[in-house]
Amino acid sequence: MSILVGNDTRLVVQGMTGREGGFHTQQMLAYGTQVVAGVTPGRGGEVAFGVPVFNTVREAVRETGANTSVIFVPAAFAADAILEAADAGVRLVVAITEGIPVLDMVRVKKFVDERGVLLVGPNCPGLLTPGEAKVGIIPGTIATSGPVGMVSRSGTLTYEVAYELTRRGIGQSTIVGIGGDPIPGMNFIDVLRRFQEDPQTEIIVLIGEIGGTDEEQAAEFIRDHVTKPVYAFIAGRTAPPGKRMGHAGAIISGGEGTAENKIRALEAVGVKVASHPAEVAELIERDIG
């Protein structure tokens, strides 16, 4: 079992014929993901990497039964691409693109929610269900199938933690990168709920960072609804206020969003918070050992 993506994922890649889209389509195919369609306006009718290309997502869905979309189109066009996917009938949209204006996301988030479509990202590495499907850019080599469900606002930091788990022989059910933007699609709670319900997932790892209050809200949710053990790491204890730390969402402002707050909130509900990334795997190994 897994959450959100797996053997039944039928993927359409928006922006498949671009540089990034093309590269990662090949990576996803190599991993064994069922990539059934690509979309690039004006390139409909072509075939790339053995996958048919369509002008619109609606056509791709109709012709191939795609149920999930991953978006690699440039930031200026990415909000439109998310709307298109959400309106075309896929159940999950994964937006890798970084740099979408946040006011666009205010509308996009409402639009996808109204249609009951799930959105992961933007500005995220996507999802990986080891051995089943890779939707996005998470390197397949870092992961192996197992009991740990991972959810994170970050990319390479997540790879680091997953890699350390894998090195110690502890596999993952699904790795979900929800992205580093101020307004993400799915948030920690949306993913935690699914991990709690997923039979394969026995342990949950949450990787947060400064900015916003999503970790604090996640802590409340964990207190009320999560019975599985949760481990966490929060990046940015040393980040100064008022400065954007790379991610558009990683900023402490108005006294809100400090790592201390988040760590305190998580520890208060029984989450074990590691003091450095590798410690997450150490703590888990010790507890299950």
Partner: protein, 378 residues
Amino acid sequence: MKLHEYQSKRLFAQHGIPVPQGEVAETPEQAREIAARLGGPVVVKAQVLVGGRGKAGGVKLARTPDEAEARAKEILGMTIKGLPVKKVLVDPAADIREELYLGAVLDRAARRVAVMASAAGGVDIEEVAATTPEKIVTVRVDPLVGLADYQARELAYGIGLHDKGRVRSFVHIARALYEAFVASDASLAEINPLAVVGDGQLVALDGKIVLDDNALFRHPELADMRDEAEEAEAERQARVNGLSYVELNGTIGCMVNGAGLAMATMDVIKLFGGEPANFLDIGGGARAEKVAAAMRIILSDPHVKAVLINIFGGITRGDEVARGIVQALEEVRPSVPFVARIVGTNAEQAREILQAADMVTASTLAEAAQKAVELANR
């Protein structure tokens, strides 16, 4: 990207918000001319992109053009929180009766724009929010309809306005502020104080706008407002090279791929007793020229005593990254020690390449941080 007060107020004025008819001066003489043109007393205000300029003496009243010139001369010679004052705004002095607050900001938790008002304007609104939150009235804007008149009225009555004309002006200004916010893709737009002046009118005496950097591509006219003089050279270099860089106060420079990992790297340095000199995310891949640019930026900080490179080789193979680093090292020829830690795909080969180039390597982040701290403390 932050806008200066004078830029923010011009933008407000374009959307129909009443602002004082002041002008910007870069010399004391210009300040005198503007004061003479305006007639009557003026306020001379330092235009710097930091808060607290009032307490720092960057805002002064002048009764005459002579005084305006003198005050401008003082202020244009100042440095406020490390930033030299290059411009002053000369505004007619207002007869302030009341000071309100009105601001629009992205409310992340609500996934909406929030518009906030308070009768306790003129002071730091974050302090008001922290100490007397009941003095702030907030409405959240449904993007389907924008800021509705009824919401603007709820703000007006909520902060105790009752005069009919004043409520009408407030509603007009609140809508204009929201329009300015949306039209400029702002993440913050505030008027503080929104003053009730002698004739009962509402005037935006001070203004602040922070723009969403991700949206600047569609607002070239706003992007052009960037005041490069206010930007540290290292930050400018980083921006031009597509790097995320934030200068800090420590001695250990950091170069990391990925924002989360970069923050974690800073944290681990601190954990082992060091102080990070910067946040730097070089992003995906690691081509030699980008690595070289990052090195130059880090080394431009004279406090840097050692540099820690932390790279997770994922899609990009570790050995390729290592070769990029070696190439950049040859170009930049740094004088401080470097510690490199590459993990993930082909990490072993990467380590061999770096060691062959006489670089200190480490296999874990903790080990790398410890080595960097040790080197920096020598």
